[in-house]
Symmetry: C2
């Protein structure tokens, strides 16, 4: 038998709009990690946690917990924003965590804590707060990270020195659940209310440099050209042809960055640099895709005489499957609250849950992003969908949280 | 019977190297129009013309003529350079004109004048000096052209006010012949010494804007994307496929400029802007190619849902066929001086001869560019090929020039 408690959607929406007011700019929010407005919002959040009977606790990285006593289920996300962010990215999951922990506390159980991680949006690093808590980066390493305006993480976190204590022992949590806006168009396009995340996809990325021969576009016959941009075109076309046989509808690949040199309309390009990024929930598939990409680069180089080099731009991101018990509890709740209007789906974006998976079982829930828009002042979600997400998460939490 | 005169290859090379010394920078030359060094070089050129018994005359646009008496054949090119130019681009044709006019004068005929046009390389406009002389641009219009450092043509030409007189009456010239380095790889690749130009090719250019939907590269499934760069790839591939059936080995088309927006590896491109430029000696073919390009843009737009717009970036350049009598005289001389080592070919680049064709019959001669390199400090031509070009041009001039 589940431990039942009553969430309050009106109170939830009221708190969500209050958090929005910190850094509100038109329909968007500007609340970067450790900015004055971010610190003020964390002070307010701490006061709301305290009012709910939770113990507010900030760790040295700026992660703010609202702690229940004893072993508990942790729910939350992040409340820092992009330089020009939407009002729901992160904030939604934080206030859901607050409301559900508060409602459970009011009902005398089960034990649910909440959290707002810090610098998920990467003012200094990327997912910095959960990175540090998960032990992927030490605090000392993070301290030397520098924001675009030159400030270090060490300097940034001085702004919360008055609130910060020790790190929180992750052993007290039985699991972590994060609700987030989808930040993609899948649910909105399908007119569905909820997505239960199966895995956070992995990603790989290479930067490809194609070197040909820069030449005058009037005096160089086609047969004597080594046109670097035509190399890019051929590679891109072959990628589309050959990856199609290998992928699922969830697999993606992107050429998002292209730089042609010297980039003049009357000059045959001598060099082109571009990125290929590919993402999938299955690491084997990422590996097979990489083999196809490598073979295409070799084939185009030998077929055209272009010199082609590929360089890894950053470490691979490994796919992170969600905990099956948490997935199943979320799926069961979604089926009850939004029958026929939910799906299981991967997360194409990284989230704090990916880091927290190193510490405990994790799960994630998505609500729709209108037209898939995120990282933009235009980001939004219908109020009904926010409430549906809250109900699904509360039901699953009631099932998952320790019964005390 | 031809009027015979003796050119002096040693004196020619000596003058060519002296002109190189004005603005010499490593193996290259920096001698932009109306710079101090350009003015000094034109003063020296005028003194060499005078020493040869020609009448130096600079017009208000900075074009410097060395005039024979009465009706004459005009030979020359330009002596201004690119910001980082080679030593032969233009200078070769100017000193060939000087040497041939001088040698003819020494022999008592025929009547040959020489010229160095101004601002061919486009510090202010493009082919500005011959543009003004040909009446395509008025001096008043040219005066408002502005260089990249903000100086107007009017301000620039003050530097030669002490030398400048009236415009020269083009009616005194029976034709114009320009020798130029090829600036392409055709002659060098074929190990040939001379190219006789059949036409200066025409060119058309469009700037294409592809608008899709900017999206997160992790969260947007392939099937829901409107990727502007993928539109560019598809257009470029179709261009290659469909233009092949329409063109000659001399036809060229180039995508030289590409700008992807926002140009980040994790973002599906929302917009891409690129240029398509195509050149051919036959205006009908240019027109048929444009119809193919337009139909591809329409087809890709309707097949992908991308919004595609094309805009003409500048006026068309019409192909300019060379005068057949001048072509034939050059071809005959080439066959005598360099049997089996010459060809008829189009000029893929624009030259002053294109403008001068509005005033009188014109012809052009090419010598090889080593590895096709031009507009670069590395530009060069073997000394033997320079001498061969001089001999061919002198023979043709002897046949073409008025016999007095």
């Amino acid at each position: 038998m589940e431990h039942v408690f009553s969430i309050d959607p009106v109170r939830f929406l009221s708190d969500l709009h209050h958090l929005r007011s910190f850094g509100a700019t038109g329909t968007g929010v500007v609340r970067p990690a450790f900015s004055e407005i971010d610190v003020a919002s964390r002070e307010w959040l701490a006061s709301r946690m305290e009012a709910a009977g939770l113990t507010p606790h900030m760790d040295p990285a700026g992660n703010l917990f609202g702690l229940a006593e004893g072993p508990s289920l942790l729910i939350g996300s992040h409340s820092d924003t992009q330089p020009e962010g939407g009002w729901l990215d992160g904030a939604l999951g934080v206030i859901m965590g607050l409301e559900i922990a508060r409602a459970a506390r009011e009902a005398g159980g089960p034990a649910i804590s909440c959290v707002s991680f810090q610098d998920e949006e990467g003012r200094y690093g990327a997912l910095t707060g959960s990175d540090i808590w998960a032990g992927k980066t030490t605090l000392a390493e993070a301290d030397s990270l520098r924001s675009i305006d030159g400030e270090t993480f060490a300097e940034g976190r001085k702004a919360v020195a008055h609130m910060a204590g020790e790190f929180v022992d992750p052993g007290q949590f039985t699991g972590f659940v994060e609700c987030h806006i989808e930040q993609g168009p899948v649910l909105d396009t399908a007119k569905e209310a909820v997505g239960v995340v199966t895995s956070i996809v992995g990603a790989r990325q290479v930067q490809v440099t194609v070197r040909g021969q820069q030449n005058h576009a009037g005096t160089t016959p086609m047969a004597l050209r080594k046109d670097a941009f035509q190399g890019v075109v051929r590679i891109a076309t072959m990628l589309n042809d050959r990856l199609r046989n290998l992928v699922t509808p969830q697999t993606v690949w992107t050429i998002g960055h292209v730089r042609v040199s010297p980039n003049a309309s009357s000059i045959v390009p001598g060099e082109a640099v571009f990125t290929i990024q590919w993402r999938d929930g299955d690491n084997d598939r990422l590996e097979r895709m990489e083999k196809v990409i490598t073979s295409i680069l070799v084939e185009v180089a030998s077929g055209t005489g272009l010199k082609i080099e590929a360089e890894r731009l950053r470490h691979d991101i490994l796919p992170k499957p969600m905990d099956s018990a948490i997935h199943d509890a979320l799926a069961k709740a979604a089926g009850q609250v939004a029958p026929g209007k939910w799906r299981s789906m991967p997360s194409g974006a990284l989230h704090d849950a990916s880091n927290v998976s190193h510490l405990m079982p994790v799960g994630m829930l998505f609500v729709p992003s209108i037209r898939g828009i995120s990282h933009s002042f235009d980001e939004d979600t219908a109020e009904d969908d926010l409430a549906t997400g809250l109900m699904v998460l509360a039901r699953a939490a009631a099932e998952l949280a320790p019964k005390g």
